[in-house]
């Protein structure tokens, strides 16, 4: 009897079922709070034609950027991309499709996807290229555009602590997009720094309730820093 034990032992088990053409929602902001081992596993699997929904696309040799080398990514839905040369090359040559989405709209699209809300109105992007082809409606004299939600076949998430039934806590600003990503995957896989006993996480301090989580794997993280900035003196 498995009950609610969601811990898996191998990365193969963690990403089992991922196949060509699927959509994957990934947590993380830049290189902060990304599920490093799950990304590496997708690289090993050589799955192709993937659509990634993620705020950024990593750098050349770290984060989602590593999936560009074998052309595993067909399309990125992101707010800010292009921190690496191979991305730029594939984008400019038309090999890689990019759907630029304002950061807050992207976060809300994921949240809405997980929350059964198919679309919402926002003022963000009205009158800009983002609004092209989208419905406009006025509320209290202001114009808003209709944005549709996003769900994924998989969501890949990095958390700090998880209990084996999938309750999650995130660490500092490594939280970022991870809680929304966790709600929006048909299969949500979480790579964590530490697996704790059930009951160790206080009920009101849990960021993501276990109901959203399907698989948990304990990872080892490099936690590369994108822009090291230090206090003067």
């Amino acid at each position: 009897m498995a009950g609610f034990n969601k811990v898996v032992d191998t990365y193969e088990q963690a990403m089992a079922g991922l196949s060509d053409g699927m959509t994957v929602i990934a947590g993380g902001f830049g290189l902060c709070g990304i599920p490093e081992g799950l990304i590496e596993q997708i690289k090993q699997m050589k799955t192709k034609e993937l659509t990634f929904v993620s705020n950024n696309c990593g750098v050349d040799d770290f984060g989602l950027g590593v999936l560009l080398q074998d052309k595993q990514i067909k399309k990125m839905i992101s707010s800010y991309v292009g921190e690496n040369a191979e991305f730029e090359r594939q984008y400019l040559s038309g090999e890689l499709e990019v759907e630029l989405t304002p950061q807050g709209t992207l976060a809300e699209k994921m949240r809405a996807g997980g929350a059964g809300i198919p679309a919402f109105y926002t003022a963000t992007g009205f009158g800009t290229p983002v609004a092209e082809g989208k419905e406009v409606k006025s509320f209290d004299g202001r114009n808003y555009i209709l944005e549709e939600s996003i769900t994924g076949d998989f969501a890949i998430v990095r958390a700090w602590k998880a209990d084996k039934i999938g309750n999650l806590v995130f660490r500092d600003t490594a939280m970022n997009f991870n809680p929304m990503a966790a709600t929006a995957g048909k299969i949500t896989v979480v790579e964590v720094e530490e697996i704790v006993e059930v009951g160790e996480l206080q009920p009101t301090e849990i960021h993501t309730p276990g109901i959203y989580v399907n698989r948990i794997i304990k990872g080892q993280f490099e936690k590369r820093i994108e822009r090291l900035t230090l206090a003067k003196n």
Binding site: F29, Y80, A107, E108, F126, D172, T173, M175, M180, I225
Partner: protein, 218 residues
């Protein structure tokens, strides 16, 4: 004389009020945090999910999990809160941030702003800028008055793809402070030693100039 980047930041800091929640964009806006008046408390919001951003860390306090929206390592002040991107933009979109300061390529006399995309160049994305300009009630744009070739960035109508429409109230440049209302720029202050004539010359959009234009205090 035209203001330095730090002087622009010093002037923007005069827009702060005690108890303000403030979002500072990348570049000159970030410098504003160095000039918060000492008799005033403000809290900095970073859109990746931090309210109460502190200074850069010392070497021993660097933490890869503690960054700001510019992906720089930072610290959190006492009393800070940390939350998801959805919560962060709920805060921004819902108009709870008191002041937003950000850069731009162009601003026009109708309060439109272009700041994220130059066609022909690689488009890297708007990040949180579109949400910030749509959500804030009170936005100050910082930029140089003209580009390196001398072309005005204060236009009748933006030429680049827009980041937001009818949303900018105030612009602080290296030459002047202007408000935007009723389809015009309104000259409020000039940089020390800069003539009204130079500002008029370098402003392509409609500019309303009062009889007396005081010098900025920076």
């Amino acid at each position: 004389m035209a203001l330095s980047r730090d002087q622009i930041a010093m002037r923007v800091a005069q827009e702060l009020q005690d108890g303000y929640y403030v979002n500072l964009g990348i570049g000159i806006p970030t410098l504003v945090s160095n000039y918060v008046p000492t008799d005033m408390e403000v809290m900095l919001q970073s859109e990746n999910g931090l309210l109460g951003m502190g200074p850069y860390p010392t070497e021993e306090n660097v933490d890869a999990d503690m960054i700001n929206a510019g992906k720089e390592t930072v610290t959190a002040v006492t009393g800070a809160s940390i939350f998801s991107s959805a919560e962060s933009f709920a805060m921004i979109r819902g108009g709870h941030v008191d002041l937003t300061v950000l850069g731009a390529f162009e601003v026009d006399q109708n309060g439109n702003i272009a700041s994220y995309m130059i066609p022909g160049k690689l488009v890297k994305g708007m990040g949180g800028a579109m949400d910030l300009v749509a959500g804030a009630q009170n936005i100050v744009v910082t930029m140089t008055h003209a580009d390196k070739r001398g072309n005005s960035k204060l236009l009748e109508s933006c030429t680049l793809p827009l980041t937001g429409v009818d949303c900018i109230n105030k612009v602080v440049t290296d030459l002047a402070v202007m408000s935007i209302k009723d389809g015009s720029f309104h000259l409020l202050e000039r940089a020390p030693g800069v003539s009204v004539e130079e500002i008029i010359e370098k402003t392509a959009g409609k500019l309303v100039v009062p009889d007396h234009v005081p010098e900025m205090k920076v």
